[in-house]
Symmetry: C2
Subunit: 325 residues, 2 copies
C-alpha cells in the first residue's frame, strides 16, 4: 500500500515539492525560484528536479503518485494551461501531457485553489465538513469549494475563481482586465497600496518605506492608529466577499489562507462583523477560520490528489482527465 | 411504474399546483392567491386544495409523489422554513413535517431556485449539461446550480442564493437588510424604479404612469430612447452578476428565468457584451439563454423532485431529509 505522494506547487515565484505521507505530513521538501520567463520546457524541468529532490531513495512501491497544483485558469478536463499570467509561454499548453512525458508516469493536475481546498479538507481546518469554502488571499484572491461532500470542479475544472466576482461596479482595475473585482480590493497588493497612499498623507504614523501587508499588521499590533484602520478596512472587504460566498455556496466553514492570512487574528473581528451585517440571518453563524496548513495547503493538496482516496473524506474518485494519462 | 408527479409552488402571491408527467409536461394545473397574511395552517390547506384539484381521479399507483418549491432560506436538511419574508408565520416552521401530516404522505421540499434549476435541467434549457446556473430575475434574484452532474445544495440546502452577492459596496438598500446586493440593482423593482425616476425627468419619453419592467420592454421595442437605455442598463447589471457566477461555478450554460426574462431577447445583447468585458477569457464563451419552462420552472422542478430519477440526468438520489418522512 503506497503511503507517500509527491505534491508539486507551480507558482509564479517558486516551484515547490513536498513528499507527503497519508496523514498529510510533509516528510521532505524542496523549492527553487521559478524560471518564469524561461518558457514551459525549463519550468517543467524545474518541477522534475524538485520532485526528484524530495523522493530520492523512496521505493517506487511506496509512492502513490504525483499531483501538481498550478495557477488557473487551467482546464483540468483536458490538462491544458489556458493562460497563466505569471509564466511565459503557458498559453494553451498541454501541461498534463508534457508533465506525464517528463515524469514518465501520469501526473494529476489541479487548479491551485481547488488543490488547496482539498489539502485543507483532507488534512487541515476543513476535516469532517461536507461543505467548505477555501479562500486564499495573497497576490490575488483564489479559492476552492467542497460541496455536498465533493470537490466542486465545474466546466473544465474552473469553478472557484472567487476573486473575480465584482464587489464594486466600475471600480478599481483588476489584474484580470476588468474593474471592481473582489481581488482588486482585497488582495495583498491593493491592501499595501492603500497603506502606502494613506501613510504618505498621515503625519505621525509609523508606516513608512516599502510597506507591505505584513508591515501593516505589525504596525497595527504596535498600536499605530492608521495601521489599525487599514486592517479594519481590509477585514471589511474580505468579510463582504465572504458573505457573498456564504449565499452562493452555503458552506459549513470558510477557511482563509494565503499571505494576507498571516494577519488573520487581527482581521477576524472585522470579517465577522461584516458578515453579521451582510449575510442573511441563516448564514451568519458559519465560522471563518485560518487555514491550518498555511502556505502548504496547495502543496499538500496536490499530494492528496495522488492518493485517490475514495471513502468518507473524498467521496469522489479524482479521475485523470483525458490527456492526463 | 408511476408516470405522474405533483409539483407545488408556494409563492408570495400565488399557490400553484401542476400534475406533471415524466416528460416534464404539465397535464393539469391549479392556482389560488396566497393567503400570505393568514398563517401557515391556512397556506398549507391551500397547497392541499390545489394538489387535490390537479390530481382528482389519478390512481394512486400512477403518482410518484409530491414536491414543493418554496422561497428560501429554507433548511431542506431538516425541512424547516427559516423565515420566508413574504409569508406571515413561516419562521422556524417545520414545513416538511406539517406538509407530510396534511398530505398523509412524504413531501419533498426544496428551495425554489434549486427546484427551478432542476426543472430546467431535466426538462428545459439545461438538458444534457453537467454544469449549469439558473438565475431567476423577478421581485428578487434567486437561483440554483447544477455542478459536476449534481444539484448543488450546500449546508442546509441553502446554496445558490445568487441575488445576495454584493456588486456595489455600500450601495443601494436590499430587501435582505444589507446594501449593494445584485438583487438590489438587477431585480424587477429596481429596474422599474430606475424607469420611473428617469421617466419623470425625461421629456418626450412614452414611459409614463405606473411603469413596470414589461412597460419598459414594450416602449424600448417601440423605439423609445429612454426605454432602450434603461434596458441596456439592466442588461449590463445582469451581465455583471452573471460574469461573477461564471467564475464562481464554471457552468456550461446560464439559464435566465423569472418575470424580467420576458424581455430576454432585448436584454441578451447587453448581457453578452458585459460578459465579454467582465469575464476572464476562458469563461467568455458560455452561452446565456432564456429559461425554456418560463414561469413553470419551479413547478415542474418540484414535480421532478418527486420522480427521484437516478440516472444520467439526475445522478444523485434526492433523499428525503430528516423530518420530511
Amino acid at each position: 500500500m503506497p503511503r507517500l505522494a509527491i505534491g508539486l506547487d507551480l507558482g509564479g515565484t517558486q516551484v515547490r515539492a513536498a513528499l507527503v505521507d497519508e496523514g498529510g505530513y510533509i516528510q521532505a521538501r524542496a523549492a527553487v525560484a521559478t524560471a518564469a520567463a524561461a518558457g514551459p520546457e525549463i519550468v517543467i524541468d524545474q518541477l522534475h528536479w524538485v520532485a526528484e529532490a524530495v523522493s530520492t531513495g523512496v521505493p517506487a512501491a511506496d509512492l502513490a503518485g504525483i499531483g501538481v497544483a498550478a495557477p488557473g485558469p487551467l482546464d483540468t478536463g483536458t490538462g491544458t494551461a489556458l493562460g497563466l499570467p505569471t509564466l511565459a509561454g503557458f498559453v494553451d499548453l498541454p501541461l498534463a501531457r508534457l508533465l506525464a512525458e517528463r515524469f514518465d508516469r501520469p501526473v494529476r493536475l489541479e487548479n491551485d485553489g481547488i488543490a488547496a481546498a482539498l489539502g485543507e479538507w483532507r488534512f487541515g481546518a476543513g476535516r469532517g465538513h461536507a461543505n467548505l469554502v477555501y479562500v486564499t488571499v495573497s497576490t490575488g484572491i483564489g479559492g476552492g469549494v467542497v460541496s455536498d461532500g465533493r470537490l466542486l470542479r465545474g466546466r473544465r475544472g474552473m469553478a472557484g475563481h472567487v476573486g473575480h466576482m465584482t464587489i464594486m461596479r466600475d471600480g478599481a482595475p483588476c489584474s484580470c482586465g476588468h474593474r471592481g473585482c473582489w481581488e482588486a480590493y482585497g488582495a495583498g497588493p491593493a491592501f499595501a497600496r492603500r497603506a502606502r497612499e494613506q501613510a504618505a498623507r498621515t503625519p505621525g504614523t509609523q508606516l513608512a518605506g516599502p510597506i507591505d501587508a505584513r508591515a501593516v499588521f505589525e504596525a497595527a499590533a504596535a498600536g499605530d492608529a492608521l495601521a489599525a484602520a487599514l486592517v479594519a478596512e481590509e477585514a471589511d472587504i474580505l468579510g463582504l466577499g465572504i458573505a457573498g460566498l456564504l449565499h452562493l455556496y452555503s458552506p459549513e466553514i470558510v477557511i482563509v489562507g494565503g499571505g494576507v492570512a498571516h494577519g488573520f487574528p487581527a482581521l477576524h473581528p472585522g470579517i465577522a462583523a461584516r458578515i453579521r451585517t451582510a449575510a442573511m440571518a441563516p448564514f451568519r453563524d458559519v465560522p471563518v477560520v485560518r487555514a491550518a496548513l498555511g502556505d502548504n495547503a496547495g502543496l499538500v493538496g496536490a499530494a492528496a490528489l495522488a492518493f485517490e482516496v475514495v471513502g468518507d473524506e473524498i467521496r469522489t474518485p479524482l479521475p485523470l482527465g483525458e490527456g492526463q494519462g
